[in-house]
Symmetry: C2
Subunit: 354 residues, 2 copies
Amino acid sequence: MCTFISYKKQSLILKKVITLKHIARELEVSISTVSKALKNSEEISRDTKERIQAYAKLYNYRPNNIAISLKNKRTKNIGVIIPDIVHHFFTTVVRGIESYANSKGYNVIVCLSDESFDKEVINMEMLANGSIDGFIMSLSVGTQLKNDYNHLKEITEQGIPLVMFDRVTDEIKCDKVIINDREGAYMAVKKLIGNGRKKIALITTDNYLSIGKQRTDGYRDALRDHGLEVNENLILSMPQMKMDEKAISDFYDREEVDAVLCVHETFAMYSMRVALKKGLKVPEDIEFIGFTDGNLSKYAYPSLTAIAQHGEQMGEMSSKMLIEKIESEKEEEEETYVTEVLQSTLVERESTKN
Amino acid sequence: MCTFISYKKQSLILKKVITLKHIARELEVSISTVSKALKNSEEISRDTKERIQAYAKLYNYRPNNIAISLKNKRTKNIGVIIPDIVHHFFTTVVRGIESYANSKGYNVIVCLSDESFDKEVINMEMLANGSIDGFIMSLSVGTQLKNDYNHLKEITEQGIPLVMFDRVTDEIKCDKVIINDREGAYMAVKKLIGNGRKKIALITTDNYLSIGKQRTDGYRDALRDHGLEVNENLILSMPQMKMDEKAISDFYDREEVDAVLCVHETFAMYSMRVALKKGLKVPEDIEFIGFTDGNLSKYAYPSLTAIAQHGEQMGEMSSKMLIEKIESEKEEEEETYVTEVLQSTLVERESTKN
DNA sequence: TTGTACGCGTTATCAT
DNA sequence: ATGATAACGCGTACAA
């Protein structure tokens, strides 16, 4: 790493930020007159309004967001807590959240829990003290493992609106947006069966907690519903995100497999790679379907048939639900919580036959 | 999309958010006494301090961030404006920014310009009115095309610290963090030449503006420095991000090519796919190197040799520079601006020979 | 038509 | 040791 330091002199003509007070002093009127004039209030004479507005425009007056937030007890910020951001799915969700929020005049404060319980708690507490009007979040692995949701309870008890998406928990009563994962897996397996596959493997990980379970259920159900026996040996559970080509290679050697469903596209890439290396033809000899319809699935060769999770839609939905809660003001004694279940869809590509 | 609505009754025992005023009233002391007591001030008697602190703890008192921001004229928020978030590189940068900022007690407000000039301007103006202490940003394509940087000028004139990364402009005097793109391309081509390649193509796009030019320069320089002639026919410029297999296929048919440098990993994936389809062997018959060391490069088969841009490091650096500026307070008449140039590195994988 | 006063929650300065 | 007051910037109910 090398550094070029360039010393540049700047005359720093700081266009000082103007406040109502400055304008009032300068124009020799009161602050409230200025305030009203800038709001085009009927109370103020055309004449003074024009003077004030002209001056404000000239000096590029903009109301201070912080002062307004303090006054209104509304920040127009929403806090988003996600486990990771270098992650296609979460990224699409954030895009959806941001786009809707933005259209409603809200900003998005993103904090990363880094899959850690502690960071999740710290970040949420940091934001909960007035910085945001509501939260949208997806549980970190750490939190799911610890099974401790007190920080979320506190948030809701404080009356701060909360929407959970994807990685949710029944422990917390709040709005939720999830995807029908079981159904997704079911569809995928059904597709494989339809293509004449009989020895369908599932490559999963113990890490995907709530999510992983549903996908496995869908896999099992689909097999059973189509008269195929569930062979536990065909379920390979890999520890963590650490993919291990050797383990997959051994798996293929050990079991006869003609199709593979993977709980994530990276898994699919790995297992397809191993198959290709063994000289198998995709999709002729073996077919692949992966969860998460990300760039990998799209650009891979052969491209991967995938179960799309519609992250952007999920984000928009979460954002919409949150903002409606925020703006509904109804401090009713009885709250209504909704769980939206989005349907996953199968995006067919080259790794499966048509 | 189907919806399960669950009506759940909640007794909404809203743990009301407590302020200094409440504590003061309840404990029959003044607000300032409470404030001091909670700061463990020496002025306050041990006795009252203990009472107050106990009460505050019991009711989980937390100072209101907004009020503090208003008072201090410091929000402890930094605004990050990026063109897109469903994008591996920007995502890694955000992670770097967030991680450093967080360690310094700052939150990150992320806004997406969506490659649009207008959105970039709107978002920045929105945040500039007191919501943030400084900006970190990368120019949208729209802004680069329009070549209009007045919004950035205004920001700096207002004395708001600004750090630009990756997609920067000379028009604005501020701290910058960029990567040595020319050098990256140079290294890549040198590597290919070292492997005995002589017909090295460049697949680029006119969209990559400032960045694209440097990469092309590096490509040209490397060829020339190693006694190879630059054949303009070997430079394929594709419009936009719209990849077109046909165009690449025709390109291969038209020109003899034994290695390809691509300005983005998606381009590399496409061009490699076309080559594989034509029955070429990678890396025996043709080698590939792509910019952006993302998931595609890593998980592809064959995996792609890539020029890593070290986004996370870039983010950390930007974050560090910005926070130092924010906290340095020095409103000197003469500002010093630094441009950090990070070195890209070549990550060798299967798409090139060793 | 314009201005005064107060409040949002906090902190710092200056009395008492 | 404790409290009153002002200030941050804004908006508004109420006076004048």
